[in-house]
Symmetry: C2
Subunit: 251 residues, 2 copies
């Protein structure tokens, strides 16, 4: 089978959220990430080089199109064409409150930068966080840039979009943490092995409605503590440091 | 004064390392970062809007060129033109071994991604690390993309380029740390308030010659500990988590 113009158009259209939502599909590019995702998501179309195919004889997809890199480039959003790209079906995750109650979960309040979202998934995966609850206006995890930045973590971390404020209000019994510039030194606080850690928007932090639902306000101290700083940590970095601190206590 | 073609060429040429090295200059773009840097570095040329100038009446530069955004766009490397861009003289930092001996220092072994380098400067700034020693093949901190990503931290953290392996060999008395996949659980190790933390290349980690000079091999445990993972943390993220762990002990 070859890469028709229609096929190229169908693939590249997945750079747009509207098309992804309507089709229920998303695009992943790059040999390693496609390989990672093939074992988790149903693959509609796999476009790859002969070499990739030979290295992955068991790769399954409804349709497999072998193509030269120059041809793959036409369907690719990347600057240098990958050895494989694939169209996957978006999974339909449901929120399992049994798991959320017992485990550590991240909640993202309006994270807008795709790179940040991807980095957050990657660090969540490292620290064994299985669920991320996102406000509906958080960046789309199926944006190809996010998929790329997760380095495969999207295959292991379930991402849910919902009315975050309502979700937190309906689950007020679960310990809920957030970072604030006037929060308490995270290193000195008691942290539970389960709970929801809320991370806020890149510019505005955690919104007012949601901050009222947070039971413990944390702060990652800068150093030295007395040094005034007008700066802040990038939200993905802060997420990693907070997760590290929670897991340190649990190990 | 207006923005001549020659001036535009001189400014945009600073996207290239060769030109930056020869001229001893670098470019910063964006109102906030230019503002941050004006108080630290000697400014050769400030190109800004009338509004920026009115908001920063004390800004000093050898030459100040007021221009409309559309005109600034011609000299800008950014997709949307900033309210200010500025050409600064590169500082000539020398390595103060008195400070390195007593404080916590980062060493970067062939960090190649400009975004990672910028993020590392930003998190170093947050945790009060004043010096970063880079191998000569680490990305150039004066690359406009790095300057941008530091969010102003470049004004507070001194970055030095040197033969890193030789530097570490000549200073073997200083505690030297590095992260390795087979290192020891960082949460359980004794960490000194001073020392050099070596972070390695994005793909290859710490090079062999340098790893022999490391006195304590650390590892950031993934969670749960028994879960095998083929993944790794991004180097900037790992840097942030390691710095947080060192500073936690010192606070």
């Amino acid at each position: 089978m070859s890469l028709s113009k229609n096929k190229i158009r169908a693939i590249t259209s997945l750079s747009r959220k509207k098309e992804r939502d309507e089709a229920g599909l998303f695009l992943a590019e790059g040999g390693k990430i496609v390989d990672d995702l093939l074992s988790t998501f149903r693959c509609r179309t796999l476009v790859c080089t002969n070499d990739f195919r030979e290295d992955h004889p068991h790769a399954e997809a409804e349709e497999i199109i072998l193509a030269e890199k120059e041809e793959i480039a036409k369907a690719s959003l990347l600057q240098s064409p990958p050895s494989a790209l694939a169209v996957f079906e978006k999974p339909r995750h449901t929120i399992d409150m049994g798991r959320i109650t017992k485990h550590l979960t991240l909640a993202l309040d309006t994270i807008q930068d795709p790179g940040n979202l991807g980095t957050i998934l990657r660090v969540a995966d490292w620290f064994g966080i299985e669920d991320i609850i996102c406000s509906t206006d958080t960046a789309d995890v199926y944006n190809p840039k996010v998929v790329q930045a997760t380095m495969g973590a999207i295959a292991r971390v379930r991402v849910h979009y919902t009315d975050l404020e309502r979700f937190l209000r309906e689950n007020e019994g679960i310990p809920t943490y957030g970072t604030f510039l006037d929060g308490e030194n995270i290193y000195e606080q008691q942290l539970t092995p389960n709970g929801i850690i809320v991370m806020g928007n890149e510019g505005k932090g955690i919104s007012e409605g949601i901050s009222r639902l947070i039971s413990k306000r944390l702060f990652i101290p800068n150093y030295p503590a007395e040094r005034a700083t007008s700066e802040s940590l990038n939200v993905a970095m802060a997420t990693g440091i907070v997760c590290s601190e929670f897991r340190r206590r649990a190990l």
